[in-house]
Subunit: 749 residues, 2 copies
């Protein structure tokens, strides 16, 4: 049901600062289309249809299209209903819709020759992107496209410039990261003259994935047709007894495109409601009828905007700078796109066992990019969206229950784990929720799931790690990264076990949490890959990201990954002074050009010295100065990163937003603190970059941060006053924030 | 739950006469494996794995394997769980299981070199087939295989001759009528050390079909593995981080084979329960746990046998001839194999719209080979299985409700219509049920469905048929066959409409029922193909089955297809004398050898003169002598057909059993009457070939047929006495039979 919040009209609009186009150029991998907070539908323009392979080889250009849209492109292929936000591999792009007029074209055509297909040229001058709303003029035929959405339903409005026969293309072959045989099966069915249902089954990043839909038109279809793009098939029953090319109501195959024609007057709009479900076409129809029963596009848009206002208001800021306001609220927006709701309005969803489950007492979510998001996104949600974060944990536990591996999610979407990246970081998210008292679920059962995941010997070197205290590089690659991250995860489990009084588990995992020491090479001063015989890998280039032992980070960056015990790390590295010198080098060294030539994902923009912000392993690093007695350096570096790695512009993100992790870093850091080790209740204090921030704690309670005298120059914290009393130290704990009040930073140059 | 009927042990075994191997040689296309009456599981050996295409061309040998088994073959590939009985195209063969020992082989090998794969030689000497039980020795490794089944669960018992490591192969690629890309998707999951679940999705005769399973072993799996037979794939997530070749619990792809290994002692048996579902793996597991909770193979077998005793006893006979007893009860058996139950124990099933439906108040069935079975099988079930037949009608009406075409089934299986053959013969089955008072459903709604199907203009020439009174050959092929069958179906609708007081429909369809006249060519004396300009197709060979206008029958046979108005047909053909002469010619003419060379499905064995019994269109023809005043010729011809077209032997069926239609003809004819025009309440009287038949009418009421002095020579009916009173005429009506009593035939030479 659509309920426009009564108060939204009276409050100041925060959505005005959100720029969905920010980050759509180059590396951000975000999409500019219409969605509501954590919505199941992400209805967004796709600007190209690059296949994953060309002539049997990986096509590196596909990477640019992880979210379907690249700002520099001149054409739009159409509008599809599912998109990841900021990922570094991809999938989805289901059910592309495109309005056209003139001669029917059922292939997308090429960017160089848009007239060769149904795609159209467009320009940013005629494009508007705001929360829950996207509008663009399709220049080729002067059609205005508008998109909005509810949680499970996308709504399209296509306004045609003249009296004509309009085509609405529904391309069942289109997809993001498409392969020749990615489309396992497609089923389309014209139920009546305004309703089409069906599903699309794919084999991609999600190995076995089915998305059902129900599509309703605002006026009756005049005529329609399906086109099977499959090669000629062997005997398949006696469907040939029908003329199937036109007005034949059912089609199934691997690759299907379709069109629906309408007579339109000049200025007339054809509207479409397009609902998704993981359960069935019945489920999609139920979602449509529940969420958008009518045809009032403006009301759906207003409801979506009101939902965004409500979410953004949970953490609001004041700043004199438009740039800051835009960057902040756009970060808030990007941090509220995923994980995405994954269930029908009745709570049903398809689980990993391919059976239909019902989420009982919680909202089920999917799209867990956990190697990224355990760091700051989930801690942020724990503060700003405690209910949702608890539901996300329940979703992870449901995943675990359904998993035949009995593993918590690693990188999961749509009832699949794609196993991308490393670690068992679900345990960090769960421990953080439990430690912060946001655990309305069976915490002991959750701990059992964490322990089972951390003891799963056949998973990614864990068996050897358990036996030897480190992952041997000759048994399992990226062994340094794995050892360090496992050790942190183990510490998170230990914290939770301690809190729950599970002492044997506490001791087992506390011991494991010290395993970072086992890859420390005192001879070089780096964390380094060891072989199963105990010797270090001799070939070693601390700058290289292609160095054996590491993934998405070099030895310089990864060697700092002991978030749970910075004191121990500092001791290994020779004490505070040596450690500060090491960090200073990291942030200031000049890298040779070859570095960039050989490093995926990283440009000079995404890096400060050799500090890589575009990838996650160093996200805590600027805060480590605090632990070495140099908090002013933390304050400087944080502000430098905020300034240089983010800007309010299409090219404003220095790396993939990674499902909100980059944005969550921005949000925390700009209000003055950051969760260095999720699972602890401590946040490291940095340097607030806003004048004021108000965190809504529920029930009218707030925690307010005020930064007196803050400016681009005044980045240092002179003193802190909490609720009128002096505050010392460089950590603030979660309970203090939850108690509410005012934290005043007095800033200086 | 398994309930062995208490009385079964005391009654004489009728199952002893059933020979499931009858008809497995050449054309019968029946399967010899284990199943219960109308069971959802048909667990049976497959003797070859012929692909539908070889080198891109149709492989005619595939036709022999419609039921998976050919008696002349020397090897068994394995045992799969779904089989059609007697069809002339095919599908199914899901989930092949094969036990082996020695070196693991995961390909089936060839018939010429069985040692090249997992298949095994076998001999009929070591083979036993009886209702609900099949046993064979697999010679290659001396393994004894035994099969039994409940309605939804197959049970396997494999006894190994020596202490060894045994392999159980589960081949997810195997299938009947297999194409390269028939396997759309396969999903296997090892839930624990005795339970495997998954599904198989195919694109075959059923265009979009998914079968879920749950497989349970009687002892823990020692080790297992999956083998993907797909070509190398593009990027598909990060599954490669696991060693997936062995003991990895989940696999998905287009083509998957798997093995499960067990340590066995000499003489030890490994048992398997294999449950199916159209809904989910949960549904399959529910079916398994409900129907076969334990591991007592003998009890499951006994329950299956008891179920068969109960069905066979519904129409029992006495005969002095073992051949007759075997042919009769084997026919009863074949007439109780399909339509098959199509729902889980909780009533849920996947419908044509791909959604899950619940059969409320009836058992849902599938596998409707209606062009065949409307003739005699459904009328037989109306008498012998009234509850099931009414449920089958309800299943057809559910099909109609779910059909996006709003058409009753034509040839449907597993939530698909394959549209095989012609007509809209569901209306005959429905009308027959309504007219015979066996309609515990909304008969008016059923009539509406019949009318909608008969007025569906885009279906197979119906639009032109409605406009012109015949199907023009230049608009839609097989036009004579269609016109004649539509006219009969229209008559059936008219009868039902009359009974329900729907006069406008009665008149519309009574008029349509006379359309057979529109293809009658008085110049040639045949029903002949007309063009849309009203002229007859000039090229015409009344013997050819490749003649334009006809399907599965030549002009000689098809011209006699006016079952609802034989008197009018006789008049067209010049009156009784000319008609009898015409029939005599049909049964006695000598056909040239070329005829057989060019005619699919028909050998000299399947034909008497030019009368073709192996195909259905003439099944009523022998009874037409009655209408021309020559009942003794009906009696002679019927007995001749019974004698020459059926015998109790592997090659005992002259044509495809066609889901029980051939068997139903045998059953009716051998007890003395036949439903020439289903939808009327009349049965034409022939010549009983048994000494006595007792039909159970429920509640202890019986209708008994006694044939005094019946013998191979005494085929003529001298007189009939019904309940002690002389009975005249050559038709008996349904109400008379339902009233119960004794009908005595006095036979003479």
């Amino acid at each position: 049901m659509i309920t426009v919040q009564a108060s939204s009209a009276q409050t100041k609009s925060l959505t005005q600062y959100v720029k969905p186009l920010n980050g759509t150029q180059r590396m951000g991998h975000v999409y500019p289309g219409a969605t509501v907070p954590f919505g199941m539908v992400q209805l967004s323009p796709d600007t190209d249809t690059i296949p994953y392979e060309m002539n049997g080889k990986y096509n590196p250009d596909v990477y640019k299209y992880c979210a379907g849209y690249q700002y520099d492109d001149a054409t739009i292929v159409g509008f599809s209903h599912t998109h990841f936000s900021g990922t570094g591999h991809s999938d989805l792009g289901d059910f592309l819709i495109m309005p056209t007029t003139g001669a029917l074209q059922l292939n997308p055509g090429t960017a160089a020759h848009p007239e060769s297909g149904y795609r159209s040229k467009f320009s940013h001058a005629n494009e508007t992107a705001s929360p829950a709303y996207y509008k663009v003029k399709l220049d080729d035929q002067n059609i205005t496209a508008e998109l909005t959405a509810s949680a499970r339903v996308g709504m399209h409005k296509y306004t045609f410039p003249e009296k004509t026969q309009a085509h609405i293309i529904l391309d069942g072959m289109h997809g993001i990261y498409n392969y020749d045989d990615k489309n396992v099966w497609t089923f389309f069915r014209v139920e009546n003259d305004t309703l089409v249902t069906g599903y699309r089954q794919t084999n991609g990043w999600a190995r076995t994935r089915t998305v059902y839909f129900a599509m309703s038109f605002s006026k009756p279809i005049k005529t329609y047709g399906f086109r099977k793009m499959d090669p000629a098939q062997a005997y398949r029953g006696f469907w040939g007894k029908f003329k199937q090319d036109k007005d034949f109501p059912e089609m199934a195959g691997h690759r299907i495109r379709s069109y629906f024609d309408f007579d339109v007057e000049a200025g007339e709009a054809v509207q479409i409601k397009f609902a998704l479900s993981s359960v069935s076409t019945e489920g999609a129809l139920l979602n449509m009828r529940t969420e958008i029963p009518g045809w009032d596009f403006a009301a759906v848009k207003a409801a979506g905007e009101a939902a965004w206002e409500q979410e953004l208001a949970k953490l609001s800021i004041e700043s004199k700078e438009q740039e800051t306001l835009e960057s902040f609220y756009t970060a808030m927006y990007h941090a509220a796109l995923s994980p995405t709701i994954y269930m029908d309005v009745d709570g049903r969803y398809k689980g990993l066992d391919q059976n239909i489950h019902t989420a009982s007492g919680f909202t089920n979510y999917t799209t867990f990019s956990l190697w990224d998001t355990y760091r700051a996104l989930h801690p942020l949600l724990n503060l700003v969206q405690p209910q949702r974060n608890a539901d996300m944990v329940q979703s992870m536990l449901a995943h675990y229950d359904q998993s035949v591996h009995k593993l918590l999610p690693v990188w999961s979407h749509y009832a699949n784990d794609n196993w991308c990246m490393i670690g068992y970081h679900s345990v960090s998210v769960i421990a953080d929720a439990v430690m912060k008292g946001n655990a309305p679920f069976d915490a002991n059962k959750a701990l059992d799931a964490c322990v089972a995941s951390a003891r799963h010997r056949s998973y990614d070197g864990v068996g050897a790690y358990m036996d030897m205290g480190y992952v041997p590089e000759d048994l399992s690659g990226a062994s340094v990264s794995k050892t360090l991250e496992y050790a942190y995860d183990d510490w998170a489990i230990a914290q939770m076990a301690k809190k729950l009084g599970r002492n044997d588990i506490y001791e087992e995992f506390l011991k494991r949490s010290g395993n970072f020491r086992n890859v420390w090479n005192p001879a070089t001063g780096y964390m380094q890959a060891k072989l199963k015989d105990g010797s270090f890998v001799t070939e070693f280039d601390p700058l290289s990201t292609h160095q054996k032992g590491y993934i998405e980070g070099n030895a310089w960056n990864y060697s700092l990954y002991v978030p749970h015990d910075p004191k121990a790390l500092i001791a290994l590295m020779g004490g505070n002074k040596a450690f500060v010198r090491h960090l200073d080098s990291l942030f200031t060294m000049h890298l040779p050009d070859e570095f960039f030539a050989h490093t995926e994902d990283i440009t000079r923009d995404g890096i400060i010295g050799n500090y890589v912000h575009g990838n996650e392993p160093s996200h805590h690093v600027a805060y480590l100065y605090n632990d070495a007695g140099a908090p002013r350096k933390t304050q400087e570096r944080v502000r430098m990163i905020l300034k240089h790695q983010y800007k309010s512009a299409p090219d404003g993100l220095g790396g993939n937003d990674d499902c909100g992790q980059m944005s969550a870093w921005y949000i925390f850091s700009s209000i003055g603190f950051y969760p260095v080790a999720p699972g602890s209740n401590q946040y490291a204090i940095g340097s607030p970059a806003v004048d004021k921030a108000v965190l809504q704690l529920g029930g009218g309670k707030t925690f307010t941060i005020v930064a007196h005298n803050q400016s681009a120059k005044n980045v240092h914290v002179k003193k802190i006053v909490l609720n009128g009393k002096p505050f010392n130290g460089y950590n603030i704990d979660h309970e203090t924030i939850l108690a509410g009040g005012v934290m005043e930073f007095y800033m200086e140059n």
